[in-house]
Amino acid sequence: MNVLLDNLSLFREGFIGTLKLTGASALVAIVLGVIVAGFRVSPVPPLRIFGTLWVTLLRNTPLTLLFLVAFFVVPKVLFPDLDSFLLAVAACGFYTSAFVAEAVRSGINTVPLGQAEAARSIGMTFTQTMRLIVLPQATRTVVPPLSSIFIALTKNTAIAGAFNNVDLFNVSKTLSNDGYDITMIFIWITLAYLIVTYAINGLFRLLEHRLEVAR
């Protein structure tokens, strides 16, 4: 029997599940990450403290522990009626946002000093300096690390498969329970992950290229 052909719809479901989880978490991570990076360099102390706390806590906790928090603590204490997809996206997205924030911050560090000084001298405020001058220029250096962060995110979504989410890893477990040969299952699953990670890699290469030309 052929694992792939027999269970094509299951594989497709898992593949789409992984893509959905990755896409949604990446969006959450980018938005939160940029905001938190902004917090960390902002003139207002509580925001800086908040940013530092956010990054330190999330970067030093295993993702699996965050999943336990998302699935057993958050619903019990704060919000009882959240869908498990949302919880998984929150766990992956928050975790990854800490890494994005750090990448953005080091990207900000590579923008030539004169740029910010010039922006200030023509009277721009902090938000304007960041939005119009620093962040657009930081993008170029932030893109390569972001690509590896998102590839890591893709792989991390596998943990969601153990927490009521249909993704590639979850499919591999279901199929091995059905008694299929484990080696073949893993070969197909690996191939599927390779497709996703190479797609991300290619996408970011393209982005890098375009940004380089634009300069």
């Binding site: 360099v41 003139p43 207002v44 509580p46 925001l47 800086r48 403290i49 908040f50 530092t52 990054v55 806590l57 970067r59 030093n60 295993p62 993702l63 699996t64 522990l65 336990l68 928090v69 057993f72 603590v73 019990k76 204490v77 975790y95 990448a103 911050r105 080091s106 990207g107 900000i108 560090n109 590579t110 030539p112 000093l113 740029q115 910010a116 200030r120 902090f126 300096t129 620093v134 170029r140 250096t141 390569p144 690390p145 590839i151 995110l153 893709t154 792989k155 596998a158 943990i159 153990a162 890893f169 591999s172 484990i182 893993f186 699953i189 690996t190 992950y193 390779l194 990670t197 190479y198």
Partner: protein, 312 residues
């Protein structure tokens, strides 16, 4: 702490505004924390009986055993992955094309497969029979070895070209150039990044829960599931305790990285110690050769924080 270049020294108006922001910000921050605490209290999570479980010798012994099991895997995987990384890095920089190709393919492949799947596949016996312990160690070694190999390569590429040329000029063989000149400098400049990746290795030992290795998280789940107090499962409590342990362990490692980075900066070898940020970013910074913005961290120093890769 010097003022950041990103904003002007605040004038009287801005100072008032900043004070207002500060007050409002702190209030919001404290308010948020207070809300969570209130909710926890409302749900009875601060019931002393629930926290009392950690006062039992048996539970403590349990946590200690799990901690040791985690550290054992981490120690072995950490050492092996570094050794493996050196090996892969040498292969990656080899003069022979086939060797280089194999190394590139290997690194690319294992960096793209989720570690969870690598470990699971090793355990169910793709490579013959491995105990959960060795499956975890080998899985972590392969994955982190690949990542560390790339870090080392970035480090070697960052060593000034003249070093290598000079070494060849005085008649050293390639192996000597590598071991005597390039690697020591690369490792030195990349140490903070290497240690940051070790933090990732430490966190990734938690994936052992999938293959029944009794590490910290496995034990956390059993304690939360098996010790109900008055019909309440102590998830909040175990997460708090085990989260603190993990964060503590990782922070110790991060501090070591910061310390090394500072020491490295003191030494005047002319080779930049990566400020433990993304290797890619630092390469660009060096390449562009312009004065760059340095935004002081709130603490007034740069923090070490790079993780070239961030599996769980």
């Amino acid at each position: 702490m010097s003022a950041s270049v990103l904003f002007d020294a605040p004038g009287p108006k801005a100072r008032v505004r900043n004070v207002i922001y500060t007050v409002v910000g702190f209030a919001a921050l404290l308010g948020g924390i207070a809300w969570v605490i209130l909710r926890l209290n409302e749900k009875g999570e601060f019931d002393p009986a629930l926290w009392d479980i950690f006062n039992y010798a048996g539970i403590r012994q349990n946590i200690l055993d799990a901690l040791l099991a985690t550290l054992k895997v981490f120690a072995l995987a950490g050492v092996f992955s570094l050794v493996f990384a050196v090996f892969l890095c040498v292969a990656r920089l080899s003069d022979h094309k086939p060797v280089r190709w194999v190394a590139v393919a290997f690194i690319d492949l294992f960096r793209s497969i989720p570690l969870l799947i690598t470990i699971f596949a090793l355990w169910v016996g793709i490579l013959g029979s491995l105990t959960p312990f060795w499956a975890l160690v080998v899985g972590l070694t392969i994955y982190n070895g690949c990542v560390q190999a790339e870090v080392l390569r970035a480090g070697i590429n960052a060593v000034p070209k003249g070093q290598k040329e000079a070494a060849y000029a005085i008649g050293l063989r390639k192996s000597q150039v590598m071991t005597l000149v390039l690697f020591p400098q690369a490792i030195r400049s990349m140490l903070p990044t290497i240690i940051s990746q070790l933090v990732v290795t430490l966190k990734d030992t938690s994936l052992g829960f999938m293959i029944l290795y009794p590490e910290l998280l496995h034990s956390a789940r059993l304690i939360a599931n098996n010790t109900p107090v008055n019909g309440v499962y102590p998830f909040v409590q175990t997460v708090a305790v085990f989260g603190a342990i993990y964060i503590g362990l990782c922070l110790i490692l991060s501090w070591i990285a910061t310390w090394i980075e500072k020491r490295g900066r003191r030494a005047k070898t002319g080779i930049k110690v990566a400020s433990a940020k993304e290797p890619a970013a630092s390469e660009v910074a060096q390449a562009s050769g312009t004065t760059v913005l340095t935004v002081p961290d709130p603490r007034g120093e740069t923090i070490v924080d790079t993780t070239p890769d961030s599996s769980s």
